[in-house]
Amino acid sequence: MRRFFHQDRDDATRQLIFSTLFNVDVKDQQAETRRRSLFGKLVSLSLVLDRTAVSECAATWLQGMDREFHLQLGQVLLDDYVPGLVSVLQNIRRASRRFCCQFITVVAARYDLSSEELTPPLELVHMFVSWIRDDPGLVLLTLRSTPLSSSQPISTLHVTPLEGLMCWCVKAPLVYRSTAGDGENEGNTDLLFSALHLSCLEIIQLLPNILAEKGVLGHVPLIQLGSMAALTSDLSKLLQRAENVASPDCGLSLERLAQGLQLARVCRVLLCCREELRAVCRRLPHNTLLQLVMTGPVMKDSGVDNTDSEAAGLTEGGVDPPLPPAGEEQVVSEGEPSVPGIADL
């Protein structure tokens, strides 16, 4: 089969054969399971053998599969290669950018740091960080190729790994601290997740342009309030378990959360007002930055809606010209109550 796909054929032909093989409309649950399992094995095998053609087809094909299946495939790959053979996964990057993006998304969703089993090995995190630092656009490939509309049910969207990665970064200071433990690695782990966290923030800043191009800026919550609520809830549990809530690790977690929320909201991939934000974060201990994010900046001229100025700040300081059309920016304040400048709440 490998040899078959490796033969000189044009992409369309390969795609067609691939679909014929796997796209059997089966009602039979057992056949479906077998099909999925076979597909997983093929992808996994193609990685070891570094077959670009197969990976490419798989990536295209994966796009049409449900989240369930993505998770399954991720699991297949992880079962096959993690933790012992993470280096094999390096081939994913070389094999196909698109599949690589899928894989990161799958892995980010898979691991939520809720248990030791669901904590990604650092080697894997390292690999992701190096991929993303080298190529920040990588994790947005799926998003770019997915048609989006505001009417589409949001729950089916699993197009970026951002939620998952944010979750990693926020929880990392508390989770890896309790598992790893030796001093030198701690510092390195901090830096590793700092880099990942910064990448996330930078990627979030790229989103408004992409969404604006698709005409759905302010309508598609790529980062969902529900996910954030789950994250804050997990975090508050973790913090409760922590010995000292005022420790730098706790502070780091809260600050990363605050930064992620702020950026996501300003870039309008997290669609909520500050009131909702406060609700989500209400069980968390005090943190100055988080406080600042929840209350919003102090307004010099109290008559002006500060959300506008934030949006302006983003676009002017924004990363990617061309800038979104000015008209789009107005949408952001819809439904969001103007937050007056309040000093420390």
């Binding site: 966290h197 923030l201 702020q262 102090v298």
Partner: protein, 711 residues
């Protein structure tokens, strides 16, 4: 919390983190920027982090944001000026390269805006000009608007800043950077007069640059003692040259003559000069304008003026270039950056290699020459060089080809320069134009050019004029012992004296000639005498028939100058010694001097012996001091014998050191005979002495007598 405090908090957190975890610091600032987009410090801090991490793209983007959002922030301007300074500078250090890279990440429009605004903020003329130049270079379309203005500003700055030399930072910028942009921009209409003005400004700069002297702060090693005149080329390589106001690297102008020719080509094309477009070499250019000159008398009005300008500018450039090439070969130490493999300096003098020729042949021709020289000198005032005749035409310049490797090129340059000069003086109109250029460039004060002019008029046989030029030169150049402690001055001084001596000799002013030359010789250390080599050299020349009016390029070294001095003295005394009247002293000097290069002067020596025999007696009390040649001693010993004719020889000095030569003849006693025999014996034992030391002693000790005995 106030907004101000929030911002300070955000920035301070970032600062705390930046050294240990720069990513976290940036995350703080990114967040801060979304909270307080109007706060300058947050963005500046971001920029500083990116800049210090030398990430060109993000730093460039942030700088641009600040440039747009905070145009009145002095900090932004300071930053921009640091970057533009890096753009202007030529330093290759990493940071400067990073800043240049940062600027390159900006879009053209932004670069242009930034440069224009930065230019507006500049108050220093040079800086402002450099800034504007950056703009012009990057955005050629802005040349039309700013080019000429920038040029004029720079030329004005020369005046307002009282810059003396044409090789200054303003001119450098104008000639090397602005001018090529302006004249190559075909969208611009430039009046001919302006083009010619710019052309001359460029020429003045390049010539000034090429002929710049060595830097005063770098001492030339050696040559401290006046005797050892040697090539001071050793420290040349390490010499640096910096134009005031510029960096060392931007003070370097590569291939100046070629650049000048490039400008000339473009200007010529734009001024509609005659001849083909690509003037690729100076020599061709001279040929072309010489051709053009023929039509000059027939032209009128504007055409004539245009033709005049073309001829004068082209011929003048050929003249200055060729004169420079000539002078840089004969006196390389005058210039910085002249690559000298040859030794120097060299002096253009009368060729005296025919001094050993038979006197009869000589006398006739010398007389003839003198007559001509007198004629020529009498016409000095009115004579322009093109009507010189006889002496000035077809004179040969001899050079020891093994000593001067580039002799052919050097002589070619000399000839080309003379021809250009002649062309420039072939019409009144041309001469007037040329004089204007010379006056505005103050060529009178160019020592190197004066050296060429002097050599040229020597070549033309106008010795009187040459002498006054040499005196003038002494006023231009540093005096010996003053200014330059490098020995350069004394070398220079020697050179002038030797040349003066040669001119005086040519004019028949032997006393003056010897006086000047003996001044030089007294300062020399006599080199070792190498008879065989010299004899061989002379032997080669002997074969050819030499005209009396040839010139020679003489190396300014003890080894060459001392023999020249001896030959010149010989030439002076030879004429007196062999007159019909008796002049034992001159004859004695001749005998002493003929020892050099023996047996080259054997014929003359035999003639002298013949004269002594005719006279029956000979008195020369310095004989035993200076005659060590065994052949001569033998001959004189023989003269006293009966077979030799019992010639009465008074060769022993009296008690005193100096004796007037007309002392009363002493009687010959037995004791004296004995003295003579002993003296002869002693003298034979001196044969191994370094002859040049003996003759050098002769020059020094007998200087007064020698000079006094000449007319």
């Amino acid at each position: 919390m106030s907004a101000q405090k929030d911002c300070e908090f955000l920035v301070s957190r970032a600062r705390e983190l930046v050294s240990d975890d720069p990513c976290a610091a940036i995350a703080w600032l990114i967040t801060g920027r979304t909270l307080y987009p109007a706060d300058f410090n947050i963005q500046y801090e971001m920029y500083i982090i990116e800049r210090n991490a030398e990430r060109t793209d993000s730093a460039g983007r942030l700088l641009y944001d600040m440039f747009l959002k905070f145009p009145d922030q002095p900090t932004v301007w300071r930053e921009i000026s640091v970057i533009t300074a890096a753009l202007r500078s030529d330093t290759q250090d990493k940071h400067a390269q990073f800043l240049r890279g940062l600027f390159e990440t900006l879009t053209g429009r932004v670069q242009r805006e930034m440069l224009l605004k930065a230019t507006e903020q500049c108050f220093n003329t040079l800086e402002k000009a450099e800034m504007l130049l950056l703009l012009l270079k990057r955005f050629p379309e802005s040349v039309v608007q700013h080019g000429v203005n920038l040029g004029e500003t720079l030329l004005d700055a020369e005046v307002s800043e009282n810059v003396e030399s044409p090789v200054n930072c303003f001119r450098k910028l104008f000639v090397c950077d602005v001018l090529p942009l302006v004249i190559n921009n075909m969208d611009m209409r430039l009046p001919t007069s302006l083009m010619q003005k710019y052309m001359l400004k460029a020429a003045e700069f390049y010539i000034g640059y090429v002929t710049r002297g060595p830097s005063p702060d770098v001492q030339i090693q050696g040559s401290q003692e006046p005797g050892s005149i040697k090539s001071p080329s050793m420290s040349r390589g390490s010499q640096r040259y910096v134009i005031d106001g510029l960096s060392e690297k931007s003070s370097v102008v590569a291939e100046p003559w070629e650049k000048l020719l490039d400008i000339l080509t473009v200007v010529g094309a734009r001024c509609e000069w005659q001849g083909d477009k690509g003037q690729r070499c100076y020599v061709d250019m001279l040929l072309r304008v010489r051709e053009l000159c023929r039509y000059l008398p027939g032209l009128e009005g504007e055409t004539r003026a245009r033709c005049c300008s073309q001829v004068v500018i082209c011929a003048a450039l050929v003249l200055f270039r060729s004169a420079f090439l000539y002078v840089s070969a004969i006196q390389p130490t005058l210039f910085q950056g002249v690559n000298v493999l040859s030794s120097g300096p060299w002096i253009l003098v009368e060729d005296l290699s025919s001094v050993y020729n038979d006197i009869e042949v000589e006398r006739a021709s010398v007389k003839h020459a003198h007559k001509k020289r007198k004629l020529a000198d009498g016409r000095d005032k009115t004579m322009s060089s093109d009507d010189e005749e006889g002496l000035g035409k077809g004179r040969q310049i001899l050079v020891n080809k093994t000593d001067m490797l580039s002799w052919a090129e050097t002589l070619d340059s000399f000839r080309t320069a003379r021809e250009s000069w002649d062309l420039l003086h072939s019409h009144d109109a041309l001469e007037n134009e040329f004089k204007k250029i010379c006056a505005s460039w103050k060529t009178d004060s160019w020592l190197w050019f004066r050296i060429f002019i002097t050599d040229m008029i020597i070549y033309q046989g106008q010795y009187r004029k040459a002498l006054s030029s040499l005196h003038q030169m002494a006023s231009v150049q540093p005096q010996p012992g003053q200014q330059s402690p490098s020995g350069q001055a004394s070398l220079e001084h020697h050179r002038a004296l030797i040349q003066q001596a040669s001119c005086h000799y040519a004019l028949g002013e032997y006393r003056m000639a010897c006086e000047k030359l003996l001044d030089v010789v007294s300062g020399l250390v006599p080199p070792n005498y190498e008879p065989s080599k010299v004899a061989e050299d002379q032997g080669r020349i002997k074969g050819k028939i030499r005209k009396n009016n040839d010139l020679r390029l003489l190396p300014c070294t003890s080894k060459a100058v001392l023999p020249f001095c001896l030959q010149l003295m010989l030439a002076c005394f030879k004429l007196r010694a062999f007159t019909d009247s008796r002049d034992d002293l001159s004859l004695g000097h001749v005998v002493v001097l003929l020892q050099y290069d023996w047996p080259h002067g054997e014929t003359l020596f035999l003639k002298a012996v013949e004269k002594i025999c005719q006279q029956g007696s000979f008195q020369y009390e310095n004989f035993f001091n200076y005659v060590t040649n065994i052949d001569m001693l033998e001959e004189f010993a023989y003269l006293r014998t009966p077979e030799g004719g019992r010639i009465q020889l008074e060769l022993l000095p009296n008690q005193g050191m100096l004796i007037k030569h007309h002392t009363v003849t002493r009687g010959i006693t037995k004791g004296v005979k004995e003295d003579f025999r002993l003296a002869m014996e002693r003298q034979v034992s001196r044969c191994g002495e370094n002859l040049l030391s003996v003759l050098h002693r002769f020059c020094i000790n007998e200087k007064i007598i020698i000079i006094q005995s000449l007319p």
